[in-house]
């Protein structure tokens, strides 16, 4: 199958299990925790797959496993055909070129001692060390423009930027080496509503322009409706429901999913608003 054929599976997770063993003895002994308990999913090229769940659902653990930031207890993760759970650190290096991440906390994810230009250029320095300085700077400027920070001086430090701007820098950094898959780990959860809207639109634009696929981790079903083609609902480490976004959100099959949808705030006002508009 050709590289960009639709329906080609880019990421396949099978029977992921992550167990934190019981520790300690006596009264303070902690229990064994199965953070992820048999999670499987496919993510196709050009698709945005959302993994949604509350705290303790295991969604962050899955994200960390996909990024090989933590190891799984068992199960396989195939990225672009290769099982990345078995790769050595050196072999992972090449994979990371195609597999990038945007984190939740815009305040912590950027090194406070680095200038913006260096932060965004870092992936280029790591993966294309022979690139000439002028070429690299050119690409950095292009990328900053693309994320809407074209007029931002590159010698600024992160603390001089707002949360939304920092998140854009994080996005620029993640995309500069043109990855195939970007893991967005609650990438908009810490942002103000207006900024969140801008970042979501930005992510959507970039996906089209650069031909990206997203694995979107979130707890917010409204965001899921907005960005995701397909959604996976996790509860206590297990997949409770999955399917096309509209299908799952309009016709949920499982009770947990129904509860989750019902708990989303603002629906009463929205219904009234829609009634008024149709009148």
């Amino acid at each position: 199958m050709s590289e960009n054929a639709p329906n080609r599976v880019l990421l396949r997770a099978q029977d992921l299990v992550k167990v934190y063993p019981a520790r300690g003895i006596g009264r303070t002994r902690t229990r064994e925790v199965r953070a992820v308990d048999g999670v499987s999913f496919d993510l196709k090229v050009g698709e945005t797959l959302a993994i949604v769940g509350e705290s303790g659902s295991g969604k962050s653990t899955v994200a960390n496993a996909v990024l090989r930031l933590h190891d799984v207890t068992s199960g396989s993760i195939e990225f672009d055909g290769k099982d990345i759970t078995k790769l050595s650190r050196g072999q992972m290096h090449a994979i990371r070129r195609d597999l990038q991440v945007v984190f939740q906390d815009p305040y912590e994810s950027l090194d406070p001692r680095m200038r913006l230009g260096d932060i965004v250029a870092e992936p280029l320095r790591i993966h294309s060390p022979d690139m000439k300085r002028s070429e690299r700077q050119e690409i950095v400027r292009e990328m900053m423009s693309l994320v809407g920070l074209g007029s931002m001086p590159l010698d600024r430090y992160p603390h001089q930027l707002s949360g939304g701007q920092r998140q854009r820098v994080g996005i620029a950094r993640a995309l500069i080496i043109e990855p195939k898959l970007v893991v967005c780990d609650e990438a908009v959860s810490a942002l103000d509503v207006s900024v969140q809207a801008q970042v979501l639109d930005l992510l959507s634009d970039l996906k089209e322009r650069l031909g990206l696929s997203y694995l979107f981790i979130t707890h917010d079903l409204a965001v899921v409706r907005q960005v995701a083609d397909r959604v996976l609902v996790l509860y206590h480490g297990q997949v409770v429901e999955e399917g096309m976004t509209d299908e799952v959100l309009d016709h949920p099959r499982e009770e947990y999913t129904r509860n989750l949808i019902a708990a989303v705030p603002g629906q009463r006002a929205e219904r009234e608003r829609m009634k008024k508009e149709t009148v």
Binding site: V193, Q196, R225, A263, R268, R273
Partner: protein, 282 residues
């Protein structure tokens, strides 16, 4: 303000509240003349994004801002008819406040029972068995199951939702006429959040207290508030009743907030709405 009955009582009334911060470069005003009206048994939603000054306003009304760092003035600050001086070193009488993170609000060295009976003793002068009985009543009021055992538990042994219920119980022990809730559900899961909102609604009806619900989430506010005030950069740019959230919004900032909120029912083609403010560099 829309039609209010002539004999309606106000849980909280604030006129021209101004807060200044004593920075190294001189005083900086961060809240520019806010008016607030909260009726008994009703909730005012105070909505704003970060930097709007909503939390500072809540703390100023409560009397929590230290006078060394902050300067507070107001033409009127009244809780249930009792006037208070805004810059007073004491906490505003008749008011109670709950915060975002229950875990940091509760002292981990004390059991829930210790905590509650301490506050009860302080407020009502009850001791021993009488205090304990009242504590149990409060835990029941906030719908915590197995209250007797929970009295002996430490905060870290409870879930986030239960911790927040305990925090609410402590606030109730003070029998406040107005409760200021500063993002009380932001740190909680969405299903737990829904239950806490439900609880607050019920408690309000039962006790007839007014509530100021401070939040950045307009959708959440729409589930609990009877009236809304939208803050931007230290000023209230729009206020109204529930109709504000169902289409009556006038101010471009409010409209932008409404349009930017993603909906779980329907996808928007484009979420962000341009408005004439640029992202400021600090």
């Amino acid at each position: 303000m829309t039609n209010i009955a002539a004999d309606a009582k106000f849980a909280l009334q604030v006129r021209n509240l101004r807060v200044s911060y004593r920075s190294d470069n001189g005083p900086v005003e961060i809240v520019h003349g806010i008016d607030l009206d909260v009726l008994e048994g009703k909730t005012l939603g105070l909505v704003g994004e970060s930097g709007s000054g909503k939390s500072i306003t809540g703390k100023a009304v409560m009397g929590l801002l230290g006078r060394r760092m902050f300067d507070i003035t107001a033409d009127k600050l009244e809780v249930a008819g009792t006037e208070t001086t805004p810059n007073s070193p004491k906490l505003t009488p008749g008011a109670a406040m709950i915060f975002q993170n229950p875990f940091t609000s509760l002292n981990p060295s004390f059991t829930v029972g210790d905590f509650l009976t301490d506050v009860i003793r302080h407020r009502h002068g009850l001791k021993g068995a009488a205090a304990k009985k009242r504590a149990l009543e409060l835990l029941d009021a906030v719908r915590i199951p197995d209250a007797a055992r929970k009295l002996r538990s430490y905060p870290h042994q409870m879930s986030g939702g239960q911790q927040q219920r305990v925090v609410i119980a402590v606030a109730l022990a003070l029998e406040p006429r107005v409760l200021i809730a500063d993002e009380p559900t932001t740190a909680l899961d969405v299903t737990v959040q829904a239950k806490i909102i439900e609880l607050l609604n019920e408690l309000q009806k039962e006790h007839g207290m007014g509530m100021v619900f401070v939040s950045h989430d307009l959708s959440l506010v729409s589930d609990i508030a009877d009236s809304v005030a939208v803050m931007y950069r230290g000023k209230i740019v729009e206020r109204g009743d529930w109709g504000l959230m169902t289409g009556a919004a006038q101010h471009p900032y409010t409209k932008m907030l409404l349009a930017s909120s993603p909906s779980v029912r329907v996808r928007s083609q484009r979420l962000s709405v341009s408005w004439d403010f640029e992202e400021e560099l600090v």
